[in-house]
């Protein structure tokens, strides 16, 4: 009884939640295997693959040569042999070496063989940010995958969702691109001990509200939630929709929300142009029931390669204060003292005060 209560309320972080999803999925299904550079090394992909090697051994946990393009091909081949590979790249950028296997092959395999063989693979991509990682280790790039029919793309923002959605992704019969933001790994939420699924393709109302709708995903949901707290000080009651899945995009809850609030701000976790926000806004404004009084708006990462130096990098990322400033614009309201009063809320180049580099 006590354990149950304890489990119900236990707080674990996002990395631990990922780890739990992997452990439980591997226990449940012998065909689940984990592969990628460093999955069995002392750091265990920021702790996310802890204990897997110890529990499941070398026949189910595979370190890999630095051969990103082939690795995806191996995973596809493994899946044709009835395995369910979960592979991981420690930075999104490394996946750019394997776009042929992901987009030309994995995404189309089931379709082009007319439904005879599906490809149940999960590709974990970790988005870097901060500590001067610079232009080649800080890209988000969700939009490169979200536009491809045949892929599913998920990007959970809490430990709770991460566990449930990774379990769903592994159980899924299709190739799933699973985005993790490095700054989310150290964020905590209540996560049940049990094996549970969060469905792919369903967004979530992270906070109910009535004055303005904020739509976001991944780490930007953290900033959006902080923004909604700040906004309370100005008597603004924001509704926050966490996309969770980027393909297929779950647009109805957004439509419902904006029909209520008449104001939409999409906070993009990637570059501002040609991103997730463009599709969300277009889905809203081309919707058959679109109410023309709705104001739509977006913020996103500055359209530049991300510089290493913190003096410039911090200018690239919108934070909760920027979000509030944008909302002040669309509400046509002045939030007095916003940036001075909430300057401690401003994002820096580390995810939290305990972080001292280098990754």
């Amino acid at each position: 009884m006590q354990t149950k209560i304890k489990n119900k309320n236990r707080n674990i972080n996002y990395a631990e939640a990922i780890n739990e999803a992997l452990l439980q999925s591997m226990k449940l299904d012998k065909k689940v295997v984990v592969m990628g550079l460093g999955v069995d090394d002392p750091k265990r992909i920021f702790g996310t693959t802890n204990n897997l090697f110890e529990v499941f051994g070398k026949d189910r946990v595979f370190d890999m040569p630095t051969s990103e393009n082939a690795i995806t091909g191996f995973a596809i081949g493994m899946s044709l042999g009835k395995f369910k590979p979960v592979l991981c790249h420690q930075r999104v950028e490394f996946a750019l070496l394997t776009m042929d296997q992901i987009i030309n092959q994995a995404a189309k395999w089931f379709y082009m063989n007319n439904g005879q063989m599906n490809v149940p693979i999960v590709i974990r991509l970790i988005i870097g940010r901060g500590w001067g990682q610079g232009p080649q280790h800080s890209q988000s790039l969700e939009n490169l995958f979200a536009g491809i029919p045949g892929l599913k793309v998920v990007s959970p923002s809490s430990a709770y969702d991460a566990k449930g959605m990774l379990i769903s992704s592994i159980a899924d019969k299709d190739p799933v691109i699973f985005f993790e933001h490095r700054w989310l790994h150290s964020t905590y939420s209540q996560v049940p001990n049990k094996f549970y699924k969060i469905p792919i393709g369903k967004s979530k109302i992270a906070k109910k509200g009535k004055d303005v709708t904020i739509v976001s995903s991944s780490y930007m949901t953290i900033e959006s939630m902080k923004a909604s707290e700040i906004l309370k000080n100005y008597y603004i009651d924001a509704e926050v929709v966490d996309l969770r899945t980027l393909r297929p995009l779950d647009v109805n809850p957004i439509i419902k929300s904006v029909n209520k609030t008449k104001k939409l701000l999409v906070v993009d976790n990637g570059w501002t142009q040609y991103g997730i926000s463009s599709e969300v806004i277009t889905k809203v404004t081309t919707h058959k029931n679109f109410d023309k009084n709705i104001i739509v708006s977006r913020v996103g990462i500055a359209d530049t390669p991300i510089p290493s130096t913190r003096s410039l990098a911090k200018l690239c990322y919108p934070d909760c204060v920027d979000i509030c400033m944008q909302i002040s614009k669309i509400l046509n309201k002045n939030f007095s003292g916003l940036s001075s009063r909430f300057k401690n809320y401003r994002a820096s180049d580390t995810p939290n005060k305990y972080f001292t580099g280098p990754f």
């Binding site: 051969s67 082939a70 081949g77 044709l80 042999g81 089931f110």
Partner: protein, 322 residues
């Protein structure tokens, strides 16, 4: 080698050749509306190798896939229907000539992105090894594919993990119109590169079907027994144009002498004469072979022509399995 095997090798080659000759002659009717990469001239390789395979063994191919499909026992009617874009095609019309598949027969996949099936084949062999299924995976590719980085990444992994794979490089000296000398250093052998990377490797004449059969029989046996990959590089020649139904030698991209030498080196003609001389079969039996195959082909084309195109409701089918 027994008579039956010799007969089968010849039969397989003649059938392949006749299938593609029919495709070639019917292509201008504009009913097979998809790019076709014909393999005429390269019959000996897939015939010689695949006769050694078990049903459960698995084959991967690329853009030039017809012979691999046929040699592994792929269904002819479904192949022709696929070229016609019909719902009875092996991929329901969704793939065309460049995406042949017959899972039951063990032709797992063919794709037109050069080199891209290689790591996938390696991955399946890895699964096979972990599953202890004792299957052999055969991956066919051209010498052009050995210029893609993924070839080396795949070879490295197969050697590292001792995977049961036969890599088959059909070196026909051309990638589209480009001679190998413009793409790879002269005097270097692909099989030497793979050997230096840790994979047992051999070179072979790709137009001698019996030799191919005999040598690869031992290799496949050894792969199955020892769980270790082998690579073979076979020299051969494509007779028709790179893509399309015709001959393109008026474009003069191939040296006249070279061309003549290879055309005189037809894998079928020589072998046929040899078997006739050896009395493995008579002229009469040979005639019957031609008739039988001709009939099979005609039936397959009739089947394809009579089959229906996939309907609208199929467009969004099978994008996702879940």
């Amino acid at each position: 080698m027994n008579k039956k095997t010799k007969f089968n090798l010849l039969y397989s080659m003649i059938r392949m050749r006749m299938v593609e000759e029919r495709i070639s002659s019917e292509y201008s009717n504009q009913q097979m509306r998809c790019p076709v990469h014909l393999s005429v001239g390269q019959e000996a390789i897939s015939s010689g190798i695949c006769l050694n395979l078990k049903d459960k063994d698995q084959v991967f191919s690329a853009h030039r896939s017809h012979f691999h499909y046929l040699a592994k026992g792929g269904n002819l009617k479904q192949m022709i229907s696929e070229l016609f874009g019909k719902e009875t095609g092996c991929a329901g019309g969704k793939g065309g000539s460049m995406h042949l598949i017959d899972i039951k027969a063990g032709l797992i996949a063919a794709v037109p992105i050069v080199g891209s099936t290689i790591p996938i084949g390696v991955g399946l062999a890895w699964a096979n090894k972990l599953n202890r299924s004792n299957k052999v995976v055969v991956i066919f590719f051209g010498e052009g594919a050995t210029e893609e980085g993924v070839f080396y990444e795949s070879i490295n992994f197969a050697a590292l993990h001792n995977l049961p794979i036969l890599f088959v490089c059909e070196n026909n000296y051309y990638s589209v119109y480009s001679n190998i000398k413009n793409r790879q250093p002269t005097n270097r052998k692909i099989s030497n590169v793979s050997k230096s990377m840790g994979v047992e490797s051999y070179r072979m004449n790709g137009n001698k079907v019996e030799e191919i059969f005999t040598k690869t029989q031992k290799m496949i046996h050894s792969i199955r027994k020892n769980n270790k990959p082998i690579l073979i590089e076979l020299s051969t020649y494509r007779v028709l144009e790179h893509c399309g139904p015709n001959n393109d030698d008026h474009l003069n991209y191939r040296n006249k002498k070279e061309l003549k030498r290879w055309l005189n080196n037809c894998p079928i003609e020589k072998y046929k004469e040899h078997l006739l001389k050896q009395k493995v079969l008579s002229n009469e039996e040979l005639k019957k072979v031609y008739q039988k195959i001709d009939k099979e082909i005609s039936q397959s084309f009739d089947f394809a022509k009579k089959s229906k195109f996939p309907k609208k409701d199929k467009l969004f089918k099978y994008i996702y399995a879940d």
